[in-house]
């Protein structure tokens, strides 16, 4: 105890030096904390984007992942509502689950035949209210409190209304109606004409006109209309009318050029027709990401027990891009962490040794008075420890305050693969990080004082006394 | 003035060393990260230029409307266009490869299992593709391990498919793919079981496609199945010889292409080449447009933007550390030389003189530290580049060596050097002011 008291008094006595050392440590911890929180933000931000829109786990018909590409009707889940109830009522899963919702994905042709434009599209059918609930997921506290969500573009009620990607809107000539920027002028179609074809035996135009539905009946003044064509599982051609509320950018250009976001019921109507309306997947969003494996195990057991031919995949498997970006960022952040770590260690040790060196005189005096080498070393280690603790604590507090201030500045950035920029929010709640940084810096401070203290202690007393 | 400042710096040897080294480490860190940043960008760029060249020539309107009606936006008479480009005196010295490509889609079938799947893919000239893969302006691949197209010019009906497509078509065993499951047989009456010919090296599939009217089918022999980064791509990709694609799409009719890819020897010629191409096409009244790889792959700029933000953030943090360290040390220095300052003042040096002297010392320390940092950065770069570390950047299937890119680095290093010297000087302002404002009497009395 005596040692600590002495160390403390020494610290106070060398006020200026102590302040300098402690603040060097504090700055070091602030740097590591800010960097670590930024790191967290990027990684967790990526996870969050994926989980917000795609959930944690998806349930499919067995074989869908391997063979279902382009053939959703053949790999659909029958009686999906029963499966959903099974999941929601399960006592193990119930507390873990936030949202369970069915989804359909399909391919077809979208046509704006009034201007003779058509394009293959990729349709995502979902339950709007469930998706909205999913968007509000925020396990990591990354969303600023005042955040206003952009409109989904779909409602549960209006089954025939939805959204399209901006690229699709442009190609189908909906640019102006949906106020999409960078509208290209619609090209003039030149249809090839066959010469020498025998003339038609009747007036085709008149014939067609008899049953033509007047435009007023099919258009809705508020939303442009598209025809969505597809084929049902048993081979029937099917078509539905789709009214576009708005065009929303989908991030990746390949998706933006083909995307149609529609109500689940409309997608089912289009894909299954008069057959049983199934679901292509059941999307599950959990409350906490760390429960993924537990939930997956339980789901597999549940399905095996009920002899259901279903398989479960997590969002990382379904989103290869995610893993790629995470791997890339991991390497980069590891590289940067090493650099930052080296700098912080260097600065702290630097400052500490400078501080110790300046007290050589004092060390010599103490030695002359009979303090042993080991005693000198011990004293400095304890001082280093204490300064480290003071500095690290100050650093943690200041670091958190700076992070909070930074978050309020609302600086925006666009994560790779996303359509919209988000504000950078340093993750102030990562207590693990704070603890790790605190411990590391205390260690660094302690070790950092050891080496110069050792050197000073080994000095000849005479020289130490003479040191200026 | 300099001489005095210099001598002062040397006099406080230890402290100066500590400060300067803090600056040096900061400089090294920024240089290394800047180089890594550059490397990542260059790496991505190299990958893209190897795959699709710098510039692509399309029929006018393809970029906007080609996804809906790709065949309407094909280039006819492309041989003449390619010759036009290759013979042009301005472009000729800039060109590395000029090659036509076709993008197409259709249905791929495995007759034996009666399985079929929509495919989309590319028809290209194998030797040109191999040549493009060897582009390495930035020398990222000194060992020459370049990707191969997997096809040969003289064998038109062989090619490559995605692993997912192979799996869906039931080609797991013939292609000896690991981790591969066989699909269930579709129920159909009109199929007669045929024995699988033993030892067939390249399994056969049939590709169905067309450009209008009834489609055609060609036989296609699969040399290998390759994993593609995106699942949608992996499940549908077919890489074939351009002649086969043309046979499939056009039969005996006029053969066209989707695009002409142009790979330049040096990336900095891109703007000039583009301008010349546009002028050439306008002059010959050709309705063609030119796009560069950044427009064709928008995520490129996104990732660059992301890295820039990261770099900025990191620089700010490092800057704070450096600023702090210098302010700290200079502050201590000022404190300990209080009596010296008092003496100087007593001898007639003005306040401004004191200030100037400390600022100068700070600047000199900055120069020393930054210069040392630059040197250290060069050494560290060399060490890392020869350490043989590997990593996998996004978009690549396999790891590549971590090789920090040092081409045209002078700008980066000078920039960092300058910034640190300036910051060192700025950090000295407050302690220098404090020194200047000391009361002479108190200063003299200081111990």
């Amino acid at each position: 105890m005596m040692l600590f008291k002495i160390a403390f008094r020494n610290i106070l006595r060398n006020g200026r030096r102590s302040l300098m050392t402690a603040s060097a440590i504090a700055v070091g911890s602030i740097a590591l904390i800010l960097f670590g929180e930024y790191n967290d933000f990027v990684f967790l931000g990526l996870t969050m984007q994926n989980v917000m829109y795609g959930g944690h786990l998806s349930v499919f018909q067995k074989g869908y992942f391997d063979f279902g590409s382009g053939n959703p009707a053949a790999y659909s889940i029958s009686n999906y509502r029963q499966v959903m109830t099974l999941i929601e009522d399960d006592p193990v899963l119930k507390p873990m689950v936030h949202v369970v919702t069915p989804a359909v994905s399909l391919f077809g042709i979208a046509g704006n035949f009034a201007i003779d434009a058509s394009k293959t599209f990729y349709g995502a059918g979902y339950v709007p209210s469930d998706r909205d609930k999913m968007r509000h997921w925020d396990e990591y506290g990354l969303r600023s409190p005042g955040y206003v969500f952009p409109p989904l573009g779909l409602t549960d009620k209006d089954v025939n209304r939805g959204i399209v990607g901006m690229g699709l809107a442009r190609v189908l000539g909906l640019c102006e109606a949906l106020k999409v920027p960078n509208c290209p002028p619609t090209p003039k179609q030149k249809e090839s004409v066959v010469r020498n074809a025998p003339p038609a035996s009747v007036d085709l135009a008149e014939l067609a006109a008899r049953d033509r539905v007047p435009a007023a009946e099919t258009t809705d003044a508020s939303a442009p209309r598209l025809d969505l064509l597809s084929a049902t599982a048993n081979g029937s051609p099917n078509v539905v009318s789709f009214y576009v509320n708005e065009a929303q950018s989908q991030g990746a250009k390949e998706l933006d050029d083909v995307f149609v976001g529609m109500n689940l019921k409309l997608a089912q109507e289009l894909l299954y027709g008069r057959g049983e309306h199934k679901a292509v997947s059941i999307v599950i969003q959990l409350n906490r990401t760390e429960d993924i494996e537990k939930a997956r195990t339980r789901l597999n057991a549940l399905f095996a027990g009920h002899k259901l031919p279903l398989e479960v995949h997590d969002f990382k498997e379904l989103n290869a891009g995610y893993l790629q970006i995470v791997d890339f960022l991991t390497v980069m952040f590891a590289f940067l962490s090493v650099i930052m770590g080296v700098i912080v260690v260097f600065t702290a040790v630097n400052t500490m040794s400078m501080s110790v060196m300046e007290r050589t005189n004092e060390i010599g005096t103490a030695r002359a008075m009979g303090v042993r080498r080991s005693g000198i070393r011990r004293q400095f280690v304890i001082e280093g420890l204490m300064l480290g603790m003071i500095g690290a604590t100050a650093g943690v507090i200041l670091g958190t305050l700076i992070a909070i201030w930074f978050n309020h500045a609302g600086i925006m950035y666009t994560p790779p693969g996303q359509a919209r920029p988000v504000p950078i929010r340093l993750l102030t709640g990562d207590y693990g990080l704070l603890l790790k940084v605190w411990i590391s810096l205390v260690l660094i401070a302690t070790v950092g004082s050891l080496i110069p203290a050792g050197r000073a202690a080994k000095m000849k007393v005479v020289d130490a006394l003479r040191h200026v | 003035m300099f001489k005095i400042a210099f001598r002062n710096v040397l006099r406080n040897g230890r402290r100066s060393l500590m400060t300067a080294s803090a600056i040096a480490v900061g400089a090294t860190a920024l240089i290394l990260f800047g180089e890594y940043n550059g490397t990542a960008v260059i790496g991505m760029q190299t990958g893209m230029v190897q795959g699709m060249g710098h510039l692509s020539v399309f029929k006018q309107g393809y970029f906007e409307f080609g996804s809906a009606r790709p065949l309407e936006y094909s280039i006819g008479g492309y041989d003449a266009v390619i010759r036009l480009i290759e013979d042009d005196p301005v472009l000729k010295p800039m060109l590395a490869v000029v090659t036509p490509t076709i993008s197409l889609g259709g249905i791929a079938g495995n007759a034996r299992l009666d399985q079929s799947k929509t495919f989309f893919g590319t028809g290209f000239v194998p030797s040109d593709r191999d040549k493009m893969n060897r582009w390495d302006e930035y020398k990222l691949n000194p060992d020459g391990n370049f990707a191969k197209s997997g096809l040969r010019d003289d064998v038109i009906d062989h090619g490559v498919i995605g692993k997912g497509l192979a799996r869906i078509l039931g080609l797991c065993q013939p292609l000896k793919l690991k981790d591969c499951r066989t699909p269930p047989r579709p129920a159909s009456r009109a199929v007669v079981d045929e024995p699988v010919p033993a030892g067939e090296k390249s399994p056969r599939i049939d590709l169905l496609s067309g450009a209008g009217g009834a489609p055609s089918i060609v036989a296609f022999y699969v040399n290998e199945a390759r994993g593609m980064p995106a699942k949608e791509f992996d499940d549908a990709y077919v890489g074939m010889h351009i002649k086969l694609a043309q046979q499939l799409l056009y039969g005996a009719g006029e053969k066209k292409v989707s695009a002409i890819n142009i790979q330049l020897k040096r990336s900095e010629d891109m703007a000039a080449a583009r301008a010349r191409l546009n002028a050439l096409f306008a002059g010959h009244r050709l309705r063609l447009e030119v796009r560069d790889f950044k427009e064709l792959v928008p995520s490129f700029n996104q990732i660059i933007g992301f890295l820039q933000v990261l770099f900025g953030f990191l620089s700010v943090i490092l800057g704070i550390i450096v600023l702090f360290t210098i302010a700290n040390t200079m502050g201590m220095s000022v404190m300990e030389r209080t009596s010296e300052i008092g003496t100087a003042r007593a001898m007639g040096v003005r306040r401004s003189g004191i200030r100037r002297q400390f600022l100068l010392e700070g600047a000199i320390l900055g120069v020393f530290g930054a210069s040392a940092g630059v040197v250290l950065g060069i050494v560290a770069t060399w060490c890392i580049n020869h350490a043989g570390i590997t990593y996998t950047p996004p978009g690549n299937a396999s790891p590549i060596p971590l090789y920090l890119f040092t081409h045209h680095n002078e700008g980066l290093m000078f920039g960092i050097w300058l910034v640190l010297v300036v910051m060192a000087t700025l950090a000295t302002i407050i302690p220098a002011n404090r020194a200047a404002r000391m009361k002479v009497v108190d200063a003299l009395r200081h111990v």
């Binding site: 029937s236 | 007759a111 159909s188 009109a190 007669v192 009834a214 489609p215 089918i217």
Partner: protein, 256 residues
């Protein structure tokens, strides 16, 4: 030609004589019998596709039809005669599955319904189906209707609902001329209830002993600029071996 024209190939043999008011199902059975003789047959079709009133594409095909003993569905083998670049290409359709065959590579590829719509093989899909088996018909009433030649016809108005999974259309409306049992007009609806196509049948001639429409006009109700005409000729009974309708036999097929 990107339209799916299932169910429009017709071969009609008509039983003469009117009876007392028949039921919907009886009418349809009668129409069906006249369309599809109990004997395998072949017929040549000439199709013209009109876009915005201008002829845009033409093709000539020959269709071989035989009723499958097991499924009661009709197996169709279609061969291209024109245009020249497509000569010899075949389409095999057995009511549920479809294959496309190209003689230049002697290869066939299976086409699923999705692929038929989205892929490159959605043209000239002209096949005969079993109306009576796949649909249940109800007589809705009697109407006067203008046929394709602007002649007024007295018609039974029938409403057909899909009775099997194989039925391509969820609902069909037919107008059949009273007494003659000639189809005048048909409207074909998708599973979602929307009108997909409208067909007019005219130019009736006696072929193979029955009254047959030698021209059918199909109007696309979704892409309203698209109209296709189908002219029928050279209808003959023909013995067709079962092997012709097997995918693996196609390369060995010798058709005249």
């Amino acid at each position: 030609m990107r339209n799916v024209l299932i169910g429009f190939a017709v071969a009609a043999v008509l039983a003469a004589g009117a009876r007392a008011e028949p039921s919907g199902q009886q009418i349809i059975a009668q129409v069906n019998t006249s369309r599809t003789p109990g004997h395998p047959f072949r017929v040549t079709d000439y199709l013209t596709e009109y876009m915005n009133g201008q002829p845009h594409d033409t093709m000539r095909i020959v269709v071989f039809v035989k009723q499958n003993r097991e499924t009661q569905e009709y197996d169709n083998l279609i061969k291209y005669l024109e245009p020249a670049r497509d000569v010899g290409k075949l389409i095999l359709f057995n009511g549920t599955n479809m294959w496309f065959y190209d003689p230049s590579s002697k290869a066939s590829v299976r086409i699923s319904p999705q692929q038929r719509l989205l892929g490159q093989a959605s043209n000239g899909d002209v096949a005969t189906v079993n109306l009576a088996r796949d649909y249940s018909a109800k007589l809705v009433g009697e109407e006067k209707l203008l046929d394709a030649d602007r002649v007024n016809r007295d018609c039974w108005h029938l409403d057909l609902k899909a009775a099997t999974d194989q039925a391509v259309y969820s609902r069909v409306e037919y107008w059949v001329e009273k007494g003659t049992y000639r189809q005048v007009k048909g409207k074909f609806y998708s599973d979602s209830g929307r009108l997909l196509k409208i067909a007019y049948y005219h130019k009736y001639e006696k072929l193979l002993g029955s009254d047959m429409p030698t021209e059918t006009i199909v109007i696309d109700a979704v892409n309203q600029n698209l109209v296709t005409t189908m002219a029928v000729s050279d209808l003959r009974n023909q013995e067709i071996p079962d092997s012709w309708f097997q995918r693996d036999f196609l390369p060995r097929l010798k058709l005249d």
